[in-house]
């Protein structure tokens, strides 16, 4: 058997064992099931929520917010990043600022945004925009800082003006680092959106979490957490796939 197949079986085995042990603990009644519902109960709750359509409704709300914010944020990041990379002076002035800004978790800004933006549909989107644009700006600016200056020289000697160089050299050269930044940030975008919904919104997965908490529906809360985790993981996989694809195609690894 291949190593890969063996690993897959091992993972499945571990996963099923955890579920079985969890189920057994619940059956023995060591802890009350309303605090610690067994997997079977959680699965039933999930099915019930799926059929009633309530899960889809809230999930779509969050999904659209994440997607909109992430799209606008990436676009803004791309434009600002390239703009800054064009001028050496601007680059050297803003680089430390951007580097610091990139370390701030946007979740920490949500209470501030509630005051500045107010409690409305725009709030989670703004939070996601901030969380996805800054890392992109950072990766473009830093990869343009480390690009071999001879690459730019050669492009110039071949008749490329500054604008041509920005779009045909600088931008493609930062794609690998943009993708690896996006891979991390897409998960951050989900989390940020979720937290802002928890704190201020009256719809979406985050809101649903708070409602479930207030009625002590631990099973519902676990379903929501599971869905959040899977969404983060799947969107990360998409960017990881793109990253590997580019690296392989260009022969970088």
């Amino acid at each position: 058997m291949s190593r890969r197949g063996f690993n897959a079986i091992l993972i499945m085995f571990t996963f099923t064992s955890i579920l079985i042990i969890w189920e057994l603990i619940a059956i023995t009644g060591v802890v009350p099931t309303y605090l610690f519902p067994p997997p079977s109960k959680i699965a039933l709750t999930f099915l019930h929520m799926l059929i009633s359509g309530i899960l889809m409704k809230e999930y779509l709300r969050t999904f659209i917010r994440v997607l909109t914010g992430f799209f606008i944020g990436s676009l803004v990041g791309l434009l600002v990043g390239l703009g800054i990379s064009c001028t050496r002076l601007l680059k050297s002035i803003t680089y430390p600022l951007i580097a610091i800004a990139a370390t701030i978790p946007t979740v920490a800004l949500v209470p501030l945004l509630i005051i500045w933006v107010g409690v409305n549909e725009i709030l989670p989107i703004v939070a996601v925009i901030i969380c996805s644009s800054i890392p992109i700006i950072y990766s473009i600016v830093s990869s343009s800082k480390f690009i071999d200056p001879e690459v730019i020289n050669v492009a110039k000697s071949l008749g490329a003006n500054s604008r041509y160089i920005v779009f045909n050299i600088l931008l493609p050269y930062s794609i690998p680092s943009i993708l690896s930044a996006l891979k991390i940030e897409i998960a951050m975008a989900w989390k940020t959106c979720f937290v802002s919904e928890m704190l201020a919104m009256s719809s979406g997965l985050g809101y649903f979490m708070i409602i479930a908490q207030s009625t002590l529906r631990v099973d519902v809360m676990l379903v929501v957490v599971g869905i959040l985790a899977i969404s983060c993981y799947v969107s990360q996989l998409i960017f990881e796939f793109l990253e590997t694809y580019i690296a392989k195609k260009w022969g970088l690894r």
Binding site: N153, V154, A155, K156, S157, L158, G159, A160, Y173, G251
Partner: protein, 338 residues
């Protein structure tokens, strides 16, 4: 074919550089590290600021930005565009000029054919061998029909067999296309093989310009690192081998030009070509016992009688000053400069 001229060029490295490179000429720029060889290329390309003038065919181009100078530039790092295929890399310089698609296709095709790169057209640079990458960089520079080709130690990362093969190919192409070429190197073999003329730079100044052997002779006072030996001819015959006396030792040399007994000749052997041995080798030609004066990492200085020689301890012998060692000067690496 373009004549390139530098008039009184000065900047933070170059000092009053005056140089004319005739149209279609292969000019090699030589000199120690930090002499300003690369800077000279960058001035011609317009990448670096300078005072003075650069002329192409007697026209001042000082006000032209790099992208309007029509230059083929091959840097040491090659700087291939990693996100483009070989074909796209080569087409880059034509696409910036917004030429019609069929013209771009035809010219790219021609250059790929010329350099035998057709079978690699869809590959990405990082998947190519060093020699292939080298050819792509050259193709990319040639496709725009540049007025002048600037090459900055392009072969420095290659293995010696690929290196000499590419050298031949470059020389063949340069002859065929009659393109004015300025080639920076610090490899003397490379310089001798390629150069129509050569220029020796030191501390930003031109020390000598002319035929390779001439300039090496004239530059010999800055070439302490190169083992310059002044000798007297003891006997010479028509077989092409002569015997010379030099600081008390006798050397055999190969010579192309006729030598007479009593002539003074200047010989040169780069330190990396001096062979050092623990035991006397089978070939006894030009082998002497020397005493080590000084060891500095792999660089050693050796005394043979009055003669002091610089060599490299590439075999990793455990050497210390005062040790005796055999020193051999291989015939083919003893160059006659005058």
């Amino acid at each position: 074919m373009t004549k390139v001229e530098l008039r009184n060029v000065n900047n933070h490295i170059l000092r009053n550089v005056n140089l004319v490179i005739n149209d279609g000429e292969f000019m090699v720029i030589l000199g120690p590290n930090g002499a300003g060889k690369t800077t000279l290329l960058k001035v011609i390309a317009g990448f670096q600021k300078y005072d003075g003038h650069v002329l192409f065919d007697d026209e001042f181009i000082d006000d032209l930005p790099p992208h309007k100078r029509c230059i083929g530039y091959v840097p040491q790092s090659l700087a291939l565009f990693i996100h483009m295929t070989v074909e796209e890399n080569v087409a880059f310089g034509l696409k910036t000029q917004k030429l019609p698609r069929d013209v771009v296709k035809r010219r790219v095709e021609n250059v790929l054919e010329l350099l035998d790169l057709k079978h690699l057209r869809n590959r990405y640079p990082k998947t190519l061998s060093a020699g292939e990458q080298q050819k792509v960089a050259l193709a990319r520079a040639l496709v725009i029909n540049p007025k002048v080709l600037l090459m900055d130690e392009p072969f420095s990362y290659l293995q010696s067999d690929v290196r000499s093969q590419l050298r031949l190919e470059l020389k063949r192409l340069q002859r065929a296309l009659k393109i004015t070429t300025i080639f920076v190197t610090h490899d003397l073999d490379e310089a001798e093989e390629l150069a129509d003329r050569a220029t020796f730079l030191n501390n930003g100044r031109i020390v000598a310009t002319g035929k390779f052997n001439e300039i090496m002779y004239r530059a010999s006072h800055v070439l302490k690192e190169l083992n310059i030996l002044r000798c007297l001819v003891k006997n010479a015959d028509s077989s092409g081998i002569a015997h010379v006396k030099c600081h008390g030792i006798e050397l055999s040399i190969l010579h192309e030009n006729p030598l007479d007994v009593g002539d003074e000749v200047t010989l040169m052997i780069p330190p990396n070509k001096v062979v050092i041995l623990h035991t006397k080798s089978l070939t006894k030609i030009n082998t002497y016992i020397g005493i080590i004066n000084d060891v500095h990492n792999s660089r050693i200085t050796i005394s043979i009688g009055d003669l002091r020689i610089i060599a490299y301890n590439n075999q990793g012998f455990n050497l210390k000053p005062g040790d005796e060692i055999y020193v051999q000067f291989p015939l083919k690496h003893l160059k006659v400069l005058s």
